[in-house]
């Protein structure tokens, strides 16, 4: 296959003579064995796997919205064992060095006193969090996870471009990339003898044990995420699940007496280790940034009291400043008594007069970066600036040299990427990871995340800017043995059931997921009945559709659903289905997708796929009544798949109960509305109306089996309202609701019923005590008793929802949201 490396740079795969490098030989051979066509198929299957698994990377301001699919190139980067061992040692040494620097700067500050590091880099640095400093007598570990961004220069040397020390991202994508690639290219993977990643993650899990301040068999670990809008939220959910941590947002946690707790349905549960993906200063609005909504008030006090382990320790972002790179060789000599093994890209901190003079002399060949993080974060290539802007830059450099760092431009190496069936050369960068061990050594991940530039001449490699990722294969002489994170056979396992430890927010999200999916089902069923009745009927013959249209209108923005007697109904239906951007269905589907996304760590892969497909069903190019019918039928099938998975695959934990309760409340409420529109006012002939009611409620078969003949109002009311054996009836919903409410934590026999129990019981009792004959009696054209029962039911249903919120979903009175309509 044709491939042309970028001239003048190091090519990862071919040597200057055009021969594959030794580490790549078996990969190249095995890919050639597959052939171009098969390779194309494999690439497609890899992309499909990623899409189906919902792997995404959120890009702010991306027109494609919240979830952009993760781009994985099917060609890995392959490194040989010898080359890797150099990188491995260099990374471990660097992590150790940065740990020592942090411990010094937050403690005795010897590096400043002895003039080894300019004090400006600490004192003027907004990431130096004074609140995190410790008494020199306190021994604290600062770094547990470390990542370095590497690039390879034309002479084949690797250079560190940046260090990541507070909450390095990407490990979850590395795992997902590896899974997808080893499945879609099993032959090359086996042939290349690739080192496995599981051992690295085992070490990360081990770290939970020694980072936890109290000796516990199973430390309780929470992964703190900024939330579903964060660019790497997918990864947070994925890692949490893989590592056995609970995925939490700041509002899920609370501090009591300097101990960190998770708010769960069963009450407060102590957290031993917090693996954070929130930046330092956002972690505690009490002691750090008061405007942060992502953190936990009082977290820092828990750290000071040594009641929780935070990974990485708060304040560790300090050593991410690029200025530090200029000082590392000397610091390595002093702190480790050895040479820095892995060089950093040549760096000048302009705060030193000699460095500033050099930078001003060589400005055009350098990249300028801010010394400290701040609003101006983009690197500036001075050589490509206009004359005026260049002059301005020189002025800024002279005025505030402390704020600038200059670096050499590295011509990154190139590697092939697969682009529409062709191989193209792109510049690549490599992110590598290391995790700390209890004995103060470091375990380096044998692999990493490679990123390729967006175009052949693009030197910037970043997922935020587009471009794709690559897996990194480290070869080993011996075929690797497989290790999995599952416990070895024979080790004792403490059996667990139940699930009161569910975070309240997750229960809340499950409740609303249940409600919204059911709302979609209600609207879909009503629409399907309307659409099937529309074809072939004259305007005058459609008055029977009145109750359905009225019930549907309650769910739609005003003015869309028009009366059945007008010709606007068809257009209204189509608009509701396919076009109206804030129409009931689209908005609700969007919300379902968002809720499912934020519940990623709770839902099975199949459930996620069903919900994700459901929200794409309406993307149809040419809307018509016919395509509407097809789409609605497909949606009903997907909704059935969801219910089926809920019944057959969800363990009966509290999470399941909350999703169920959401569903029951919603179904009871639209069935009540439907019945009241259809039956409170009596009509001269009600047959068609009853037929449509049974259709919408999927109860035709049951009715026929029971009554065979003519449709009777009384029998329909019994089947759809009172009959607790019909899963579509109001009575069934209320009974299920009462049953769930009685099984929530805190509800005990003998104790006085709580508010939500009382409301649920009152709803159920009213229906049970109602007499069906009385309900169907017409007086002056109206079924008064039916009207009364339905009105009271629909009045009380929201009260159950509110009471549940107050009792379970918001601890200590904070109602996160009371209204989500």
């Amino acid at each position: 296959m044709a491939y042309e490396p970028v001239p003048g740079v190091y090519d990862e795969i071919f040597d200057p003579a055009g021969q594959p490098r030794p580490a790549w030989a078996s990969l190249v051979e095995s890919l050639e064995g597959l052939g171009a066509e098969e390779l194309a198929r494999r690439c497609e299957s890899a992309q499909r796997m990623l899409r189906e698994n919902g792997v995404s990377y959120n890009v702010y301001d991306d027109p494609r919205g919240l979830h952009r699919p993760w781009e994985l190139d099917p060609f890995p980067i392959v490194l040989g064992e010898v080359e890797w061992s150099v990188l491995h040692d260099g990374l471990a040494q660097r992590a150790e060095l940065l740990e020592l620097i942090l411990a010094d700067l937050y403690g005795p500050r010897r590096l400043l006193r002895e003039g080894l590091l300019p004090p400006e880099l600490v004192f003027a640095n907004p990431t130096y969090l004074r609140e995190c400093a410790v008494d020199p007598s306190v021994k604290r570990r600062w770094l547990h996870l470390y990542a370095a961004d590497l690039g390879r220069s034309p002479d084949g040397e690797w250079w560190v471009l940046a260090d990541r020390t507070q909450a390095p991202s990407g490990m979850g994508y590395v795992l997902e990339n590896r899974i997808v690639l080893s499945r879609s290219l099993p032959e090359p993977f086996r042939a290349s003898h690739v080192q496995r990643l599981a051992h690295f993650f085992r070490c990360l899990q081990d770290a939970f044990h020694w980072v936890a301040p109290r000796p516990v068999e199973e430390p309780r670990v929470a992964l703190l995420t900024p939330g579903p809008w964060n660019e790497t939220y997918f990864e947070h959910a994925y890692l949490a699940r893989y590592l056995g941590a609970t995925l939490v947002e700041g509002a899920d946690l609370t501090v009591r007496e300097s101990v960190l707790y998770l708010k769960t349905l069963g009450g407060l549960e102590r957290i031993d280790v917090l693996l954070r993906r929130v930046d330092d200063e956002f972690c505690d609005p009490l002691s750090l940034r008061s405007d942060s909504t992502l953190g936990v008030a009082g977290l820092l006090h828990c750290v000071r009291a040594n009641q929780v382990g935070v990974m990485n320790a708060l304040g560790s972002g300090l050593v991410e400043s690029p200025a530090l790179l200029a000082f590392l060789p000397a610091l390595s000599q002093v702190l480790l008594n050895s040479e820095l093994k892995l060089p950093s890209v040549a760096t000048w901190w302009c705060g030193e007069p000699s460095a500033l003079a050099y930078v001003l002399d060589h400005l055009d060949s350098l990249v300028l970066k801010p010394t400290f993080p701040g609003p101006q974060r983009e690197p500036v290539f001075a050589g490509s600036l206009s004359k005026a802007r260049r002059a301005k830059l020189v002025e800024q450099l002279r005025a505030d040299p402390v704020a600038y760092v200059a670096q050499e431009r590295v011509s990154l190496s190139s590697a092939p990427v697969w682009n529409d069936g062709r191989l193209e050369a792109r510049h690549v960068g490599l992110r590598t990871y290391a995790v700390a061990r209890a004995n103060e050594t470091w375990e380096v991940m044998p692999g990493g995340l490679a990123r390729a530039g967006i175009a052949r001449d693009s030197l910037v490699v970043s997922m935020q800017r587009g471009g794709c990722s690559k897996d990194v294969w480290i070869r080993t002489a011996e075929p690797p043995h497989d290790l999995s994170l599952l416990r070895p056979a024979g080790s004792a396992v403490e059996l667990k059931r139940g699930g009161t430890e569910l975070p309240s927010r997750v229960a809340d999200d499950l409740f609303w997921l249940g409600r919204y999916v059911e709302r979609v089902e209600g609207i879909t069923r009503m629409l399907r009945t309307i659409v099937s009745q529309l074809s072939g009927r004259e305007l005058g013959e459609r008055s029977d559709l009145e109750p359905l249209c009225a019930a549907l209108e309650e769910q739609a923005p005003p003015g869309i659903v028009q009366g059945p007697g007008t010709s606007g109904l068809e257009a209204g239906v189509l608009e509701l289905l396919f076009e109206s951007p804030d129409g009931a269905l689209r908005t609700t589907l969007r919300t379902v997708h968002q809720l499912a996304f934020s519940l990623r760590d709770q839902l099975s892969l199949d459930t996620w796929r069903v919900l994700s497909e459901l929200s794409q069903t309406l993307d149809i190019p040419y809307p018509s009544l016919v395509s509407a019918r097809i789409a609605l039928n497909r949606m009903i099938l997907q909704l059935s798949a969801w219910s089926g998975l809920a019944v057959e695959s969800m363990t009966r934990t509290l999470g399941w109960r909350f999703a169920e309760m959401g569903q029951r409340v919603e179904r009871a409420s639209y069935m009540t509305s439907l019945l009241s529109h259809a039956l409170v006012l009596s009509a001269p002939t009600e047959t068609t109306r009853l037929q449509m009611l049974l259709d919408t409620a999927e109860s035709v078969i049951t009715y026929r089996r029971r009554y065979r003949g003519e449709l009777q109002v009384e029998a329909v009311i019994d089947l759809l309202l009172n009959d607790e054996t019909n899963p579509r009836s109001v009575g069934f919903q209320l009974r299920a609701l009462y049953d769930h409410v009685r099984h929530l934590p805190g509800s005990t026999d003998g104790a006085p019923p709580r508010i939500e129990e009382r409301i649920a019981l009152s709803l159920l009792a009213r229906l049970r005590l109602a007499d069906v004959h009385e309900l169907s009696r017409v007086e002056a054209g109206k079924r008064l008793a039916l009207e009364d029962v339905l009105a009271r039911t629909s009045e009380e249903l929201p009260a159950v929802s509110d009471a549940l919120s107050r009792s379970y979903l918001s601890h200590s009175g904070e109602v996160r949201r009371t209204e989500r309509f």
């Binding site: 004192f123 300097s258 200590s812 904070e814």
Partner: protein, 303 residues
């Protein structure tokens, strides 16, 4: 001089507060001139525990959580202190300010490093050319630092109008400079920014001044609430406190509670409240001189 201080703060909320977390800077610290003899913090409703800690600058802090529902929180700090009259250098004998600026940049002793740390911008005190410009006329090259700093203090006192309520804790100092009005906290921030913009170490001091002045002296401004002033590092002469609100050199009429880079480091009470909606705060401070006998204030206090 011996003082008894009562600092009472009451928060009233329009809606119930379910939980609140608080961090206070209310217990006075010790210094070379001041010894805190007794101090207590009384919180209602009563928190399960008060956790004493020491912050980065050596100030005592207390951390507590109220987890019972409440509509009102009252915090009363009571302290008794002994404050010695300070022996101040003659202003014209202090080091030239420009020599000190160079010295603090180069010197790496523990003391000089903590002084140098006070030369940089901080959350409430940006360093702006306009502030350096304002200060410049008092800082001719070679002028003794304290002499120049006193003139700056005098100018701020003269140029700025003290008007309670004109600013809030979040008013940026650029605006204070523009309107030339504010309260003690603003004047302290302005003077700190002026000094730091010239490359001089300056820190923010929060505390009180005595409520009733000694016989025959006028009552000072800022006596019924928390007060704030500035401390400037004069090299060998150490940190010297200046009060721009009252245009004076601080001696034994000021009670120091805490110091830091600016107000944000030493706010008396910092809290995160769940619920509560709107709130009002009432603050009352009473500083009583309990022994005015000049002979006792000569005691050596140690550091």
């Amino acid at each position: 001089m011996r003082y008894r201080v009562i600092h009472r703060t009451v928060y009233e909320y329009s809606e119930m507060v379910s939980v609140c977390h608080n961090e206070t800077h209310l217990e006075p610290r010790n210094s070379s001139h001041q010894r805190c003899l007794e101090t207590s913090l009384d919180v209602r409703p009563v928190p399960p525990t008060l956790t004493p800690e020491t912050d980065y600058f050596g100030n005592p802090i207390e951390f507590f959580t109220l987890q019972e529902p409440h509509y009102q929180m009252e915090v009363v700090a009571r302290s008794e202190l002994e404050i010695a009259e300070r022996t101040l250098p003659a202003p014209e004998e202090t080091d030239p300010w420009d020599a000190l600026r160079t010295h603090v940049r180069r010197e790496r002793s523990v003391e000089a490093l903590s002084a140098y740390e006070m030369c940089f911008a901080s959350p409430s005190v940006p360093l702006l050319p306009s502030f350096a410009e304002y200060a410049r006329s008092s800082f001719d090259l070679g002028r003794p630092l304290l002499d120049a700093a006193l003139e700056l203090t005098e100018r701020i006192h003269h140029d700025f109008a003290f008007r309670p309520g004109a600013t809030s804790v979040s008013t940026p100092i650029e605006e204070v400079m523009r309107t030339r009005t504010g309260v003690c906290q603003d004047f302290a921030h302005v003077q700190i920014s002026c000094l730091r913009s010239l490359g001089l170490p300056a820190r923010y001091v929060s505390g009180y001044i005595r409520t009733t002045p000694p016989k025959g002296q006028p009552r000072l401004v800022g006596a019924d609430a928390s007060h704030a002033w500035v401390s400037v590092w004069c090299g060998a002469a150490g940190w010297i406190d200046l009060d721009p609100t009252n245009d004076l050199l601080v001696s034994d009429q000021h009670v120091t509670v805490a110091w830091g880079r600016d107000y944000s480091d030493v706010a008396p009470i910092r809290g995160v409240v769940h619920g509560g909606r709107d709130h009002t705060v009432q603050v009352g401070v009473d500083v009583e001189a309990i022994r005015d006998d000049p002979t006792t204030s000569k005691v050596t206090l140690g550091s």
